[in-house]
Each structure stands twice: as structure tokens, then as C-alpha cells.
């Protein structure tokens, strides 16, 4: 039942944020197809360390598709060729024997490279800090069942909230736009009564921060939603536009 393949990994190596990067190709033999892609990078790193070379730096943590830490632009797709899955959920059975796999970091002005395949996504935190919350202090909440929320709204809010903040939308977008990410958070709150009170302030603040940080403008190509590992829908962006326009019009 063990199938193995050999692959060439063409990986972007860059020593630091200011250094010049380049592709380096590594050959790996006999990788079992039920190995995950990140485990394949582990194997490569193990071999590099054995040879006394520096291992490839890449972000990863939970390895079950939920923390949003892993990134990688693999063969032209953020999180690789599988849809609805993160890089850590990508298995080698997706690749052919002898294939050359090109691995690049997220490329966007707002996500500078830290080292090799690792980028700085702190801009996402800054957008959230600008208003991605409901303003109240711990202990001040009423009983959880005091506000009934329709199941439809709750489910839709949940779908929007399932964004993992990995940045694949920005990586996939030819404009480096963060609209899908911002819209997911704005939508979650816009759909729930808890978020209504400061909805206008929130959407304006988050969008302003997004623009400030140098993300691009959305041109509705939809690559973000097509590549999103959590299948966040484009309709969130329409909702964000709606919320923003109505907030601005009521100024």
C-alpha cells in the first residue's frame, strides 16, 4: 500500500528581508504519497541539516488546517493545487512522480519576506486592531440566550468567521487586495445583532487601515475566493462594500 514518488522542489531561498532571493532546486527521492507536503519539507530540512546547510524557513504550526500559520505558493496556487485546504493539509499523492514543484512565498507589498518562504503578515493584525471587535468589557455581558439570533444569520456569520487569516486571498489576488479577509470579519459582525451598534465605525476604521497598509483595490476577479482554504465567499465583499457605502452616505 506504500507508494513513493520522487520530486524536485524548486524553492525560493532568501536570507533576510533586505537580501536578494533566488530559486534553489532540491531533489527528493522516495517520498511516500501519504506524506504531507510540509512533512516533505521536514524531510528536505533534515537532509539539509545533515549536510550542514541551513534548513528552509517556512511558517507552520497546527498542521491540521486551522491556525492559518502555513502559507506557501505552490505551483501557482496559494496552499497548493488542492481546493478548500491549507498547505498543511496537502498530501504528496496530489503530485506526480518526477514532478518539479515550485514553492514561493506569498508575494505582496504588505507581506514582506522575513526569510525564505516566511512572510510578515502583521498587517492583518493591524486591520483587526482597528475595529474587528465588539466594544465591551469582560463581565458586562447579558445572558447568552437574551438575544435570539436566527439560525440562518448565525450560520452565515459562522461561515464568514471561519476565515483563518492565512493571507492566501492577498497572495492569490493580482492586486494584492485584502478585501476578502476584511470582508469576512466585517460580515461576521454585520450579520449579528451584537455587532450592529458600532457597525459603521468598524467598517470605516478597518477599511481605512487596510488602505493605509498598502493593500490593493479589489477588482472582483474572484481569485481570492477560489483559492481560499476555508471557502470564504465573494458575497462577503459585496456586503463589505454595502456596509461601507451606507456608513459613508450616512456621515
Amino acid at each position: 500500500m506504500e507508494n513513493s514518488i520522487s520530486v524536485k522542489l524548486k524553492i525560493w531561498r532568501q536570507a533576510g528581508p533586505k537580501e536578494k532571493g533566488e530559486f534553489v532546486t532540491y531533489e527528493l527521492q522516495d517520498i511516500p504519497t501519504d506524506t504531507s507536503f510540509l512533512e516533505t519539507l521536514d524531510i528536505l530540512n533534515e537532509q539539509l541539516v545533515e549536510r550542514g546547510e541551513e534548513p528552509v524557513a517556512f511558517d507552520h504550526d497546527c498542521r491540521e488546517g486551522i491556525c492559518g500559520m502555513c502559507s506557501l505558493y505552490i505551483n501557482g496556487h496559494p496552499h497548493g493545487p488542492a481546493t478548500g485546504a491549507t498547505t498543511c493539509q496537502l498530501y504528496m499523492r496530489r503530485f506526480k512522480d518526477g514532478e518539479t514543484i515550485t514553492v514561493e512565498p506569498w508575494r505582496s507589498a504588505a507581506f514582506p519576506v522575513i526569510k525564505d518562504l516566511m512572510v510578515d503578515r502583521n498587517a492583518f493584525d493591524k486591520i483587526q486592531q482597528a475595529g474587528g471587535y465588539v466594544s465591551f468589557n469582560t463581565g458586562g455581558a447579558q445572558d447568552a440566550n437574551a438575544i435570539p439570533i436566527s439560525k440562518v444569520a448565525a450560520d452565515e456569520a459562522m461561515d464568514s468567521a471561519s476565515c483563518i487569516g492565512c493571507g492566501a486571498c492577498v497572495a492569490a489576488c493580482k492586486n494584492g487586495s485584502a478585501m476578502l479577509f476584511v470582508s469576512a470579519k466585517v460580515s461576521q459582525f454585520a450579520l449579528l445583532p451584537q455587532g450592529k451598534a458600532e457597525a459603521k465605525k468598524r467598517v470605516k476604521a478597518m477599511l481605512q487601515k487596510m488602505d493605509e497598509l498598502g493593500f490593493g483595490n479589489c477588482t472582483n476577479t474572484g481569485a481570492c475566493a477560489a483559492e481560499c482554504p476555508k471557502n470564504i465567499k465573494l458575497s462577503n465583499i459585496a456586503r463589505l462594500n454595502r456596509e461601507y457605502i451606507s456608513a459613508k452616505c450616512s456621515d
Binding site: M1, A15, G16, P32, D34, S36, L38, E39, D42, I43, E46, L48, V49, G52, P55, A57, D59, D61, C62, R63, E64, I66, C67, G68, M69, A82, G84, Q89, R93, K115, D120, R121, N122, D125, Q128, Q129, G131, G132, Y133, V134, N137, T138, G139, A141, Q142, A144, N145, P148, I149, K151, A154, D155, M158, A161, S162, G165, Q188, F189, L192, Q194
Partner: protein, 669 residues
């Protein structure tokens, strides 16, 4: 070795600071009489919170809201990525929204019983008490919990309980709760009350005059050590499951912060209590980096089985037949058989051991013989595939992505009964109940040093029930620590801010730097991971699900040898300038080795079976865990003796139960 432990019983008195009064009134009494810090003084007090999981983020946010100046440290690139995010199933609370007889007392009772009567009663009662506030808090934050059509919150049942008290947000409850805490944290960062340090790792705690006054943390991007001073230090750095190399923990989860505290004199309590989760995807190959958990909620509708006949098992192992080829009457639903009252919903430790028992007898169902089936045929036939997919669709997809098998796919029909592909599961290291010892105020044995969440030992006893980890993390962070820490800080208001130029900071940083230099200078031949894997194998084989005196002694010897190997034959490429992932991993591995030893010491000392700790010498004729309340009704606190090579000393905190009668756990009837 044992001699060593017994000789070291110079018993300092342990003061767990449990308030007076009946268990149901203790927390109310405490809050009524504790000392507080007035708002003007809060601004003058700095608090360091290490970790941004449920406990860390909620504590940092709440302390910020109160007006303290908080510094919050996070090992990942964003606070939102802490491993709390991976919790799937849900969070318990005694709301009794389902009118099925739940109450604070019942949640308290279930938790103590689930913990095999090894938790501290007063802490658990407080946990159950504040559980309801947590749900209110999270709903107000905009956490999109599942709801009924009427608009009210939905619940589901979970292992170890007979009521439906678990609140959930799809299969991503941990994620949603963490994002809730992260949103509150963000608000405080925006307001300037919390400063967030991402990609920083705590390397040591700084003690001045016997009190924790700061930390030395490494900026993982620049590779530089930095000093941070504060009036109090809170560590919320999670558990030590990665000691076993393969676990369901995230790759960055480590025990270094806790070990730093331990080496500085904080007691480490009950390290042997390690939870092994019954429903993980079985191991494959030696290239694996971690184990993937399948939510325990699957046990609500999934039935666990192995073949009745050993011949069928052998054919499964040889790959000649598939699970769906075995008809209903040839299947042994061993949990339903052994535990009729709870069936597939027995607590995790019981389910895990039962799986191991079957596999040890040769009934394992995959090529390694280390797997059992989790089957949805009955549920799909009863409810239809659509309903089942609605409940577990994302888990089915996840399982298929990893294993290439779709559990929702019709595979066979025998005598008119439809059989679907069963999942294969096997237990894996998941959560650690043990941790830094804390008193009722969540303060460690070092003044001014607090530990919250999985990182402390306090609430789960010897075994944790499903959906209780999220509850504990948030209880500690939102509702307990922000109160109790004031009791400590109230007499610190006259203490001015500390300079990081103090000799204690200098000395601590120098020592950490020397340790890092030492690691770099070994220049041996082995990678960090290869040694870590070896440690993991020792731990799993000798300090795993079933332990014996003999296996533990072997483990201690092997770990000692491994430490030698680590100290003499490690190789780290690169330099200390800038990011060096291998160096970071090596630093963590050094602490995992010490942690592994500590687990083994505690397991060796605890000559009984309870919860997640199973000593094969101590079991009933039916193979159930046999506790020894007469001799082991205590919290085992381990004190560092100045050197990793030296055995730690044992200090006992006796347990006192007032509200609950200690009895044998029974999930049979």
C-alpha cells in the same frame, strides 16, 4: 532511583490558599474579601502575560480592560494562531438550557469524577460556577455559536456526561472562542493598554528578591535576547504533549517557559497525568510530524468496533478485506459491550485504554495493528447521509484528504444492510492535565508568578473531560486570574517600575546566552528532530498508555542516555544572528528531555492507576484502573534540585473532599 525520591521527602508545607466555607460559597467569599487595586494604581502596574491562547489572550485582554499595563508575548506571527484554535468539539457550561437536569453542581461533579477524584475540589467548583459567564461573554463578543431555529443556543452531548451542556461553533469552537478573545485583545492593543510581541519566545523568568519580576525573551526574527520587566508574570504557555514528539499539539507547542519556572523553583504538579485522546488518525510511516485529531463529537453518532474473530482482524491487517466486508454480527462494539450506560461516550482515558486493550490482544484493524474502526453506517442508515454530513461533513472531508478514504461512501451491502467505509482511529497524546503547581489564586510557588490554562495543573485531576479545556482556559483568563492577581498586586502599588538594567536581569540574560552558546558549540552529528523522535519513542513505549515500574525505570535510564547524546552529539547549522529555527528547536528539546524525565519520575512514584495514568500493576480483573486513595490521594508536586541531572524532590499536597464522596468511577451502569 526510587530511594532517591523517598529520601527527598523534606516536606515544606504547601498552602493552597483555599478559602473558608462550604465549597459552593468559597469563590463568592473570596471575591468579597480579597484586596483590590484602585484604578489610578492599576495604571502604574505592569503585567507580563506569556502566551496568547484562550487563557493568555483572555487574561491579557481583561487585565488591559481593568487598566493594567500588559505586555503580551506570542511565539507565532499573530496571537490568533495559538493552539487553542485547534479545539474542535465545544465548550461546557452549566446553563441547563436543554432542561435536562444540569446544574453547577452536576458540572462540578462530572468534572471531578471525570478527573478520577484527583482534582482540587474548590478549584473545580469555581470553574463550574463561572462556566456560565463564559458563554455570556463569548456570545456578547460575537462568537457565532450554533443555534436552534428559534434563535436560541444549541447544545450537544460529549464524553463523560449524561446531559447536553456543550456549546459549539461548527467543528471550530476553539477557533471561534480564540478569535473572540483575540478581538478583545485587539481592542486593548488599539487602546494602548496591551503591547503585543509577536514571534517572541520566553527563555527565562527573572526573580528579584524571591518574586517574579520579568522575563528574558528571544526575538525569533532577529535572534536577539531581550529583557522585559513587570510587577507580575503570568505564564499561559500550554501543555507538554510534544514531549512525546508525535501528539495532536501544534509544532511550536513547547514546555520551555514552564521548565524555566520549574528550574527557578516553581513546583511542577502531577506530570504523569497525560491525556491520550481516543479518536486520532492512526500513525503511518516514520516521516510523520504530528498526529491529527478527529473531534470527539464523532463519538455521538459513530460506533467504535473491532472484529469479533481474530481471523478477521488478521485479514484486515494483511489488507485482504476491508472493514465494510464484515457484517454487523461479526463486529465487537467493545465500548457498548463493556460500558452499557455510557457506551461510545465514555471518558477519553477509558476509551483509549479499551482501544489499546483490543489492539494488544491482536484485534487491531490496519497494517500496524494499531487502529480500531469508528463506523457511521448505523447513523447514516438511521438519519440519512445528508444529516450525518451536515453534522460531520467537514471532519469526513478532512479524514478523506489525509487518508484517501471517504467515510460517507457506501462500500458494501450485506443481507440488505448498507455498510459505509469506517474511519480508522487510534489514541494519541492530546492534552496534559499536569502542569505548574498553583494555589487557589493561580499563583505558583514563586511569588508574583502565575500560571493559567493548560499550563497549570489545577482543574482536571487525572483526566480531562471533553469540552472542558476551553472552559478552563477562558475561566482562568476572563474570570479568575484578573481577580486573584489583584490580591497579590494590592501591596505592590508602591513598588516603582523596574529597570531591566538590574543585575538580576543581566545575570539571567547572560546565563540564557551561555546556554544558547553551549548548544551552538556542540557541533555534533545529529539533527534536533532525530533526537526528539527518539525521545518520543521512549516516552510512547515506556511512559505511554500503559506503564509499569520496570518500563518507567527503563525510560529514566534511556532518557539519561539521550540527554548525554543531546549534549554531545547535537548539530545546529547557521549562526545566532537572525532567525535560526534549529537553535530554537534545540532549546525546546533540551526542556522536553527534562520534562520527559519528570513525567517518568511522577509515574514511577504514583503506584496506582487513575485517569490518564495507568500502571499495569494496578488494575482490576476486568482491566479497569485501580486507584489507591489511601496512599495516593494527593497532588504530587515536584521541586527542582538545582540540576537537570538530579532527581527532583516530591512534595505532597493532600486533597480534601467535602462536597463529593470519593468512589470508584463507574461508567458501566
Amino acid at each position: 532511583m526510587e530511594e532517591n525520591i523517598k529520601n527527598n521527602v523534606a516536606q515544606p508545607v504547601i498552602d493552597s490558599k483555599i478559602p473558608e466555607g462550604p465549597v459552593a460559597e468559597k469563590w463568592t467569599n473570596y471575591k468579597a474579601h480579597q484586596k483590590l487595586v484602585n484604578p489610578a494604581n492599576k495604571r502604574r502596574l505592569d503585567i507580563i502575560v506569556v502566551g496568547t491562547g484562550l487563557a493568555g489572550a483572555s487574561a491579557a485582554a481583561t487585565l488591559g480592560e481593568m487598566g493594567f499595563k500588559v505586555m503580551n508575548f506570542c511565539i507565532q506571527d499573530s496571537p490568533r494562531r495559538a493552539h487553542s484554535i485547534a479545539a474542535q468539539g465545544g465548550i461546557n457550561a452549566a446553563k441547563n438550557y436543554q432542561n435536562d437536569g444540569d446544574s453547577v453542581y452536576r458540572l462540578f461533579y462530572d468534572t471531578v469524577k471525570g478527573g478520577d477524584y484527583r482534582a482540587r475540589e474548590a478549584n473545580v467548583y469555581r470553574l463550574a460556577e463561572v462556566s456560565n459567564n463564559i458563554i455570556d461573554q463569548c456570545v456578547a463578543q460575537g462568537v457565532p455559536f450554533a443555534r436552534e431555529y428559534g434563535g436560541l443556543l444549541a447544545n450537544r452531548s460529549f464524553g463523560g456526561a449524561q446531559v447536553s451542556r456543550t456549546f459549539y461553533a461548527k467543528g471550530q469552537t476553539g477557533q471561534q472562542l480564540l478569535l473572540g478573545a483575540y478581538s478583545s485583545l485587539n481592542r486593548q492593543i488599539e487602546m494602548g493598554n496591551v503591547t503585543s510581541y509577536n514571534r517572541y519566545e520566553m527563555h527565562d523568568v527573572v526573580i528579584i528578591d524571591g518574586r517574579a519580576r520579568g522575563i528574558i525573551a528571544k526575538n525569533l526574527v532577529t535572534g536577539q535576547l531581550e529583557r522585559f520587566a513587570a510587577h507580575a508574570v503570568v505564564i499561559a504557555t500550554g501543555g507538554y504533549g510534544n514531549t512525546y514528539f508525535l501528539s495532536t499539539n501544534a509544532m511550536a507547542c513547547n514546555v520551555s517557559a514552564a521548565m524555566a519556572c520549574y528550574r527557578k523553583g516553581a513546583y511542577f504538579a502531577n506530570p504523569a497525568y497525560v491525556q491520550i485522546h481516543p479518536t486520532c488518525i492512526p500513525r503511518h510511516g516514520d516521516k510523520q510530524s504530528k498526529l491529527t485529531l478527529m473531534s470527539e463529537s464523532l463519538r455521538n453518532d459513530g460506533r467504535i468496533w473491532v472484529p469479533k474473530n481474530i481471523e478477521d482482524a488478521k485479514r484486515l491487517q494483511a489488507g485482504e478485506i476491508k472493514g465494510s466486508d464484515i457484517p454487523e454480527e461479526e463486529r465487537d462494539y467493545y465500548l457498548e459491550r463493556r460500558y452499557p450506560a455510557f457506551g461510545n461516550l465514555v471518558p477519553r482515558d477509558v476509551a483509549s485504554r479499551a482501544a489499546k486493550e483490543r489492539c494488544d490482544k491482536g484485534y487491531g484493524v490496519n497494517n500496524t495493528g494499531q487502529a480500531v474502526f469508528l463506523d457511521f453506517s448505523e447513523a447514516i442508515n438511521r438519519l440519512g447521509i445528508d444529516v450525518v454530513r451536515q453534522r460531520y461533513g467537514n471532519l469526513f472531508d478532512m479524514y478523506e484528504e489525509i487518508t484517501d478514504v471517504n467515510p460517507g461512501e457506501l462500500a458494501n451491502e450485506i443481507n440488505g444492510v448498507n455498510y459505509y467505509n469506517p474511519m480508522m482511529i487510534y489514541p494519541a497524546i492530546h492534552y496534559t492535565m499536569g502542569g505548574i503547581w498553583v494555589d487557589y489564586e493561580l499563583q505558583t510557588s514563586i511569588k508574583g508568578l502565575f500560571a493559567i490554562g493548560e499550563c497549570n495543573f489545577s482543574d482536571h485531576g487525572a483526566n480531562r473531560l471533553g469540552a472542558s479545556a476551553l472552559m478552563q482556559g477562558l475561566a482562568d483568563g476572563y474570570f479568575v486570574l484578573p481577580y486573584t492577581i489583584q490580591n497579590y498586586l494590592s501591596d505592590q502599588i508602591t513598588v516603582p517600575r523596574f529597570s531591566t538594567d538590574l543585575p538580576e536581569f543581566e545575570e539571567t540574560e547572560e546565563r540564557v546566552q551561555a546556554e544558547l552558546d553551549a548548544l551552538m558549540n556542540i557541533k555534533g552529528n545529529r539533527s534536533v528532530d532525530s533526537i526528539h523522535k527518539e525521545l518520543g519513542n521512549i516516552m510512547w513505549d515506556y511512559v505511554g498508555m500503559g506503564r509499569t515500574k520496570e518500563s518507567l525505570e527503563i525510560a529514566l535510564q534511556k532518557i539519561k542516555d539521550l540527554r548525554k547524546e543531546f549534549e554531545t552529539n547535537l548539530f545546529i547549522p547557521g549562526t545566532q544572528d537572525g532567525m535560526n529555527i534549529e537553535l530554537d528547536k534545540a532549546f525546546r528539546l533540551r526542556d522536553f528531555i527534562t520534562m520527559g524525565e519528570l513525567i517518568a519520575y511522577d509515574a514511577l512514584n504514583r503506584e496506582e492507576s487513575c485517569g490518564g495514568h495507568f500502571r499495569e500493576e494496578h488494575q482490576t480483573e476486568e482491566g479497569e484502573a485501580k486507584r489507591d486513595d489511601e496512599n495516593f490521594f494527593y497532588v504530587a508536586c515536584w521541586k527542582y534540585n538545582g540540576d537537570d541531572e538530579k532527581a527532583p524532590s516530591l512534595i505532597k499536597e493532600p486533597l480534601h473532599y467535602e462536597a463529593i464522596k470519593v468512589q470508584t468511577r463507574n461508567y458501566k451502569n
